[in-house]
Amino acid sequence: MSNPMSIFDVAGRAMSAQLVRMNTTASNLANAGGVATTQDDAYRSMKPVFRTQYDAASGMATVDVQKVVAAGADPVKRHDPGNPLANADGDVFENAVDETRELVDMMEAARTYQNNVEVMQTAKSLIVDTLKLGR
């Protein structure tokens, strides 16, 4: 039989996964517009990879961040000889951050986080009411 306490695990771990997503989004936005001398030095946006974690005993499933990967387009080469970071050819490499995508991701992460908070609050009040049974 399921233990009602583990609902907190489910919602709590989903919240921390969304927080990792929020952190990567913040890093990506912070690095938007930056340039580097070589293609390898340029920043690439980071994305967390979510994975369902099943709990056979209770039949519930929560979510974990399996890893954080560099994703998205290659850095864009731009000719800018006046830039102090320009290489011998006068080119700089612009960080590959899609700001629109990051902002959409941020909104989605915030919404999902909020949903899990709501689940946790509801579960908490129901459990407290169950404990008060007969009083």
Binding site: M60, V119, L133
Partner: protein, 118 residues
């Protein structure tokens, strides 16, 4: 449950409701996990089989009534969580749980009054 006439069906109902709350919470938690398939249980089917099997077979009876949800709209990453459906079901389930608690409280109140001879 036949072996628990004091609280009638409400003990079993509370158990099925709490199990369903866990399933719906799992669905909401996995709203953005690629490939996750949402599950739900049919309350009346689960309750009927828990009543048949008694407390001992309750976990198995509930597992048997648990099914994958048929998505209203397919998503590209294979995730079948429809947030509005899940949130509605979660809210409905929470209200039903609360209702069962009120029934139980009423039952306990009646018995307490009988014992006190008020």
């Amino acid at each position: 449950m036949a072996d628990n006439s004091l609280f009638g069906v409400h003990g079993a109902a509370l158990m099925v409701r709490s199990k369903r709350m866990g399933l719906l919470a799992s669905n909401i938690a996995n709203a953005s996990t690629p490939g996750y398939q949402a599950k739900d249980l049919d309350f009346s089917e689960a309750l009927a089989s828990v009543e048949r099997s008694g407390v001992a077979g309750a976990a198995h009876a509930i597992d048997d009534a648990t099914k994958y949800r048929v998505p209203l709209q397919a998503s590209m990453d294979g995730n079948t969580v429809d947030l509005s459906t899940e949130q509605t079901a979660f809210a409905e389930n929470a209200v039903a749980y609360q209702t069962t608690l009120s029934f139980l409280n009423g039952r306990i109140g009646t018995i307490t009054r009988a014992l006190k001879g008020e």
